[in-house]
Symmetry: C2
DNA sequence: AGCGCTTGACTACGGCCGTAAACGATGTGA
DNA sequence: TCACATCGTTTACGGCCGTAGTCAAGCGCT
């Protein structure tokens, strides 16, 4: 094993790029630029910079395809999401999920449908 | 109404200061420095800088006490926590809580006790 | 063979962040 | 009154981030 470079933090802009790659890969830089969230209104140059930074952070990998690269994620979305979730829950809710749910509930940010869904989910978990 | 300056983003280091004030306020800068998470190992100067920045961001307010200030939060922890939670859930879970719970469940980050707690909570919510 | 287009690498630059020292005003004890 | 301690304010500085322009190398046409 070993070889397991600690995961460097992915910034918010970089995350937008990762989302594209998680959805479909491998992609060329151009493909990524075309698919990235249009609200960002990035130029191709910006996307290339972000891909470069993600490369050095080892969050994406590249494979040579003729004279260009094909990019693909090197960290699973699963892992990223888990890390970010944990960070937030640790920082704001003492590491426990219940207070988060309670919090959202108190602010009416949970619908009846949500409740039903989560109950079903938990029931399934118990067995 | 009006007068409601948009909440400027509180950084992570600033948040550590806020936690102190949310727990007990008003406090002098010195008090804050003494109570802030010791893992940070900040000098008094650093804490003063952070308080200053929080002041200009209007996240804390100060009241003059002789020749020094007493600081107190100007945004409720509740509000901050809600904002951060929403950001994360929007960014990673399409705005829905269920996937977050499902996610944590799949990673065994929910204990049986958690499940029971949340179920009780949801049951209470339904009525 | 020469030219332009594509593509990654390098450079840039202002902004915020983390961390902190220097400065200046003010109060205080001797 | 004079040195000293105490505060808040200002300035600093390296680092990462967001955004993007420029450069150099190679490919494809003509």
């Amino acid at each position: 094993m070993a070889e397991n470079a600690k995961p460097e933090r992915i910034s918010e802009a970089e995350h937008a790029v990762m989302e594209v790659l998680w959805q479909d890969s491998p992609l060329t830089a151009q493909d990524v630029a075309e698919r990235v969230d249009p609200d960002r209104a990035w130029t191709a140059a910006t996307v290339k910079t972000l891909l470069g930074r993600l490369l050095t952070k080892r969050a994406v990998a590249h494979e040579v395809d003729g004279r260009r690269y094909l990019y693909r994620p090197a960290v699973a979305r699963e892992e990223y999401v888990a890390g970010e979730s944990r960070r937030l829950i640790d920082r704001l809710f003492g590491g426990k999920l219940t207070p988060l749910v309670a919090h959202l509930a108190e602010r009416d940010e949970i619908s009846a449908a949500d409740i039903a869904e989560i109950e079903a989910l938990l029931k399934a978990l118990k067995q």
